[in-house]
């Protein structure tokens, strides 16, 4: 059989796996963590089930970040107060006496549905406001409200400067802060707000940039 029909080259998927494994081996941040399987985690290293609509076929998600869970404390406390408010207020007021009992029940039920809706909306906003670092890009997905979203991204070789900022008692105690990424691309800055372990995020991006530079030098 002619040599041309013997396909001895490595299949693309194996090459992708090899590239990914070498990346993990070279990054101290990726090496020191196991893949995160918890879908509610705020700091997910190589999450297996995560993908996004503008993802390339050969692109792997290395780190998925959300704001630190402690930022949810405000709306959780408000929701708890809203749950107990009717129980505290209704026995003290008599201004609803002109309503039949059935309608008063409807009012209380509607209060709880609105409270549930408020908590659900707050949770969804936290859950879907994510920052993704892949082996090619840094992506910031912001959902400002239920109706407005903005997706910013920059390639790793466009990253110029990374700054991690953390301040105050709460941020120091829970180890979270902001990571600012200056870029040479059209979007001058991408900011990861109130993410857990900002120092590790900065370190990972630096390691990935170093890897990109090594690759660029290798191709020249």
């Amino acid at each position: 059989m002619p040599e041309v029909f013997n396909n001895t080259s490595t299949p693309p998927i194996s090459r992708m796996e090899a590239k990914f494994k070498s990346l993990v081996a070279r990054s101290s941040v990726l090496r020191s963590h196991d893949p995160t399987h918890n879908p509610l985690a705020a700091f997910c290293i190589m999450p297996p089930k995560v993908g996004f609509d503008v993802q390339h076929d050969d692109e792997r998600v290395l780190l998925l970040l959300r704001q630190h869970p402690i930022v949810n404390l405000g709306w959780i406390l408000i929701s708890i107060v809203l749950v107990f408010l009717p129980l505290l207020i209704l026995p003290l007021t008599n201004w609803l006496v002109f309503l039949p009992f059935s309608f008063r029940t409807v009012l209380v039920l509607s209060w709880y549905v609105i409270t549930f809706g408020f908590a659900l909306e707050q949770f969804v906003m936290w859950y879907f406001n994510i920052y993704i670092i892949t082996d090619e890009r840094v992506i910031d997905m912001d959902f400002y409200s239920l109706l407005f979203k903005r997706i910013s991204e920059t390639k790793l070789d466009h990253v110029e400067d990374i700054t991690a900022a953390s301040g105050g008692v709460v941020q120091s105690m829970f180890d979270y802060g902001d990571v600012q990424i200056q870029t040479a691309a059209e979007i001058p800055e991408i900011e990861f707000e109130r993410v857990p372990h900002p120092a590790e995020v900065t370190k990972l991006i630096s390691e990935l940039i170093d890897k990109e530079e090594v690759q660029d030098k290798g191709t020249k």
Binding site: K49, W95, F98, G117, K149
Partner: protein, 86 residues
């Protein structure tokens, strides 16, 4: 008697101003139905947005969120119907 509390035409039967209680109830009910109809639309928007956000990012937890949003929407519709019949 507390002189600082004004006699309410709704609560106090001895009030000089007379307002029909069923009339007040119907006005209240109609206003509630209008307001809660807007809320039902908002609940529908939440379902739609979770669906769109799930399309942008796949995380393996969208099913639960979609279920919660659907429960919220059907609860809102149920309350609107209950208010209509009350």
């Amino acid at each position: 008697m507390n002189v600082f509390v004004l006699p309410s035409p709704i609560i106090d039967a001895t009030s000089p101003v007379l307002i029909s209680l069923p009339f007040v109830f119907w006005v209240f009910k109609i206003l509630f139905l209008i307001a809660f109809a807007i809320y039902v639309i908002y609940a529908l928007v939440i379902i739609r947005q979770i669906s769109l956000m799930s399309r942008s990012v796949t995380t393996g937890f969208q099913g639960v969120l979609k279920l919660l949003a659907a429960i919220h929407f059907f609860a809102a519709v149920g309350i609107w119907l209950l208010a209509l019949m009350a």
